[in-house]
Symmetry: D2
Subunit: 317 residues, 4 copies
């Protein structure tokens, strides 16, 4: 039995891909291997069936199979958050019940794309919380993906009214000032403290950790780096953390191309031997020969830098 | 066994609501009554599980139940088109197979909301057609709902490359010039002729029929008027058709308020004794007391005008 | 010297077109004639250089010429509001000073299109009000044109913080519930009362007047109807008001096609002998032969109905 | 007299800021110093009054003053492109004439934000080219800023029909595949070759140069790096180029936060002694104390890395 998600969530909650075989079917063997890999990286949690998990391209039955398989494999070692965003409340509620019944630690909810102002946004989350009872909720603030724009007061109102919202997945951009304001509202006692886990592929992770983010919820294909950076920041070794981050930054940036990053991410996981195929379900992007060559180049450079770092005596920037 | 949909589609294809009970469950008795009502209005066809049918708020199982029930009730008397739009190809394909297996005449496909230019749009429809084989397709051009903008050349390219697309559901606005251009492309032989059925709640129906639309695919709560207007235009009695249309125009306009019209439409169907409840599933709009009073007023005025027309000797405007 | 605009604004504030000659130059003779026409219709005020006034297509100098000409011609007989919306504060401030110096009663401000939440919207209007001092302001709530979405609380906060905002130009759609909520906030004393003038081409005018709108600020090409409808509603003759409105409704609806209505509106004004040319500056829509024929038909029908009404004894619907 | 811009444009065309004094007025002394700085960095050209130049916040007169000042200071040493984007054709044409008369090498045009499909986009550029005659044009493909989405065929049609379009400012994202396709169309002779200069703050510059981009048109506050990277790639020293780029990548990424980058960029230019004030005109972002501290950190790290590089013997990654 997994503990429920709460505001103490920190470190890296990796966004899991959903592995497919070359024919597009679920690949549960790769799924197991991917789970093992993530756990071996030291992630603090896992989030499945988010946008990066191609959730909308699965049938209901497939969503259940993937959820059950991953929860079974994780077996309570880390909390697993399940993405349940849905345009309708009934399917959202049904899948939440299923996921929690299987041992999920909480669910992630992105707003429907028709919400246009603070009142509609806060109203939506209040209704979702009424619907889901005491299930812990990760609120996803990701305007590029949802076309919904949260103000700081809107998030704070949701925090005030919805005790179930325990984690903010913060991936508004620019978002550094927003993060600071949310943290100030916690620090001065104006609002209940939640965990804030950042997204955006980790592109601003060092700056966000310096401003008080609790960690990241993102799917960068080298989660071991994200884990290590979080640890270094937690030990007040920000310069070392940022040095490490910057070794990977060219790839972090490369993966952050919206609508294209998922294909890159799956391909890197495939190259690393974690999943058998980089297949992305339609509609989706396919990598070209140029894309592959570019990835060869960037990965080759990364590996040389990592070798150089190992060979060299540690130093602080 | 229903005949397959083809480019001869004309007249009114009513967009069916999905009736719920007050507790939100499917109301299949009302569904039957609604089907009977639509048929009694003389509609030429029916479209189910479109946006107005709250398709995204149903579970997969419910979608199957509704589809089977309506197809069974219609029993081949008119062609039934089933909305199958889905962000993923796999669920789209699966539900299409189900619907066609149950006797649907074709399916309606709206594009996913991330398509941003002609090439992406035409590519999407070519892929959908490859996926669905010889299933007849209604292409839905509805920018307000999908955020996808079809140019005339993009539609024409789809028509040229995808023989399965036999009906264009045209609800771009302003869209009169677009309709004329499509018809010209058919008339001068540049492109295969499809049926063009207009939407937008019928707000521009007389002008669109005058410009050559084959009919309308819309859910206005008085489909008998739409049917009659189409007949009058078909008999070259445009003035009489427009006179009749204008009697209902205040309500046509009232129902056309985006995101609010569905609640009004269901309420009118309820008042007319067709469905038992006007329940709209969450997330959705609820009518206020003011909304009800306003509807009383508008319906009262309509009924008096209809009485006046019956009492008066026919005249041509 | 014109009186300043205040919350007593009511009736029809007609949105003035900007007349051009066939070669695209300002046509000041037509401008004078248009002003005279509007005044003869009994409008309570005039708004110039709004979106319908093609404000962004004029040079700074032309904007000044038009403003001076119209203010001179009106000569204080009715208040004139000048549209000053601008992506930059400096040009916005400079033109406001010019317009007020020439005798404007106030200015209309639409928000810049990058505002994404309540806080940004209210912040923007607070900054504009700080900038403009005690100049009376019409806030334009027109999401279709600005891509900015005002919640009721955001408008109320602006009303509370910005005493200069004396009129809300309300053209959100659906907007009836929003109008009712704003009026309730005034009625129960929670917020300072402003005038609410509706837009959207007047498409919902009878319903909006019934819900307490003070009038309309719109450019429908038959402003005499709008004036009369407002008078009838003010005399509690709603049914007569709505009867009159409905005679024109086919044209109201026809003009309300976004991005196309301006060309129709100018063409009707030209046919009525008010402006010499229906020229719309580039980029803009041009009417086709079909568009002209359609207008012939709709105007012909309108004129016959008006004749019928005059011939018939008055009756209440 | 400057040579006109043509398809041979390559290297770095720096996007110039518009320097203001602390009171918001134009600061022409800083403007001169900025021009001298850019030239000393070895830029191949300069682009003024783009989005980063706060063009929409200047009065017409100020735009002329800035244009004249910069063109005078540059004095033909490099080509200067002037941003002339405008919602109206008349102001667009008038300012183009002014700029070309002052010695500009060409103008940059971003599409108006209402264009929704390929045909509207290509139609717009054809009309602009008809309007401007033989003035060389930079087409700005920047969806994040304009909300206009160019397909490859749309750009190619513009290239085919509009010989004046000699440079594509490419800042769609993801955009690597688009760049490759455009280059292929040039290489195989299907379309006239134009220069392609990339934007997006240079975030993908090494990958874009490797795919055949001719350079960049961007405003990163260390243009000397961009210039050097272009030179290294031109000498086939891609690894060295990417090594140098990556030293600055943390700041490139930091500046690329939309709507916030301009304030950072001006502040860096101020710290480098190039402009007297980092003032950004309203509406615009102001840096907080945290923002300043973050910049201290990132710049401090950059400077140490640059020192390390100078101290170390050159090596190839």
């Amino acid at each position: 039995m997994t503990a429920k998600l709460d505001e103490s969530a920190k470190g890296i909650y990796v966004i899991a891909a959903t592995p497919f075989a070359e024919n597009g079917a679920l690949d549960l063997t790769s799924t197991d291997r991917m789970v093992d890999f993530y756990l071996s990286c030291g992630v603090e949690g896992m989030t499945i069936l988010g946008m990066m998990g191609e959730a909308t391209k699965l049938s209901e039955e497939e969503s259940q199979i993937v959820t059950r398989r991953i929860l079974g494999r994780v077996a309570g070692r880390v909390p697993v958050v399940v993405g349940v965003s849905n345009p309708g409340f009934l399917p959202l509620e049904q899948f939440t019940k299923f996921a929690m019944g299987e041992g999920a630690a909480g669910v992630m909810v992105a707003p429907i794309s028709t919400l246009r102002n603070d009142e509609q946004i806060t109203g939506y989350f209040k209704s979702v919380c009424d619907l889901l009872g005491d299930v812990p909720i990760v609120l996803q603030d990701y305007p590029v993906g949802t076309n919904v724009h949260f103000s700081v007061p809107a998030i704070e109102e949701i925090i005030d009214k919805c005790p179930q919202v325990v984690v903010i997945k913060h991936e508004d951009c620019p978002g550094l000032a927003k993060l600071t304001r949310l943290k100030q509202g916690f620090a001065n006692g104006a609002h209940r403290r939640t965990s804030i886990l950042v997204g955006n592929g980790g592109l601003y992770l060092p700056q966000e950790l310096a401003r008080g983010a609790d960690g990241a919820m993102t799917g960068f294909a080298y989660p071991e780096m994200l884990v290590e950076v979080c640890k270094l920041f937690a030990r007040n070794e920000a310069a070392a953390g940022e040095d490490l981050f910057n070794v990977y930054l060219p790839l972090v940036r490369h993966e952050m191309q919206p609508g294209f990053g998922l294909a890159l991410r799956k391909e890197i996981l495939r190259r690393r031997g974690i999943i058998a195929s980089s297949f992305v379900r339609a509609p989706g992007t396919k990598l070209t020969r140029d894309d592959h060559n570019e990835l060869d180049w960037l990965i080759g450079r990364l590996e040389r830098k990592l070798n150089d770092r190992e060979a060299a005596p540690a130093k602080v920037a």
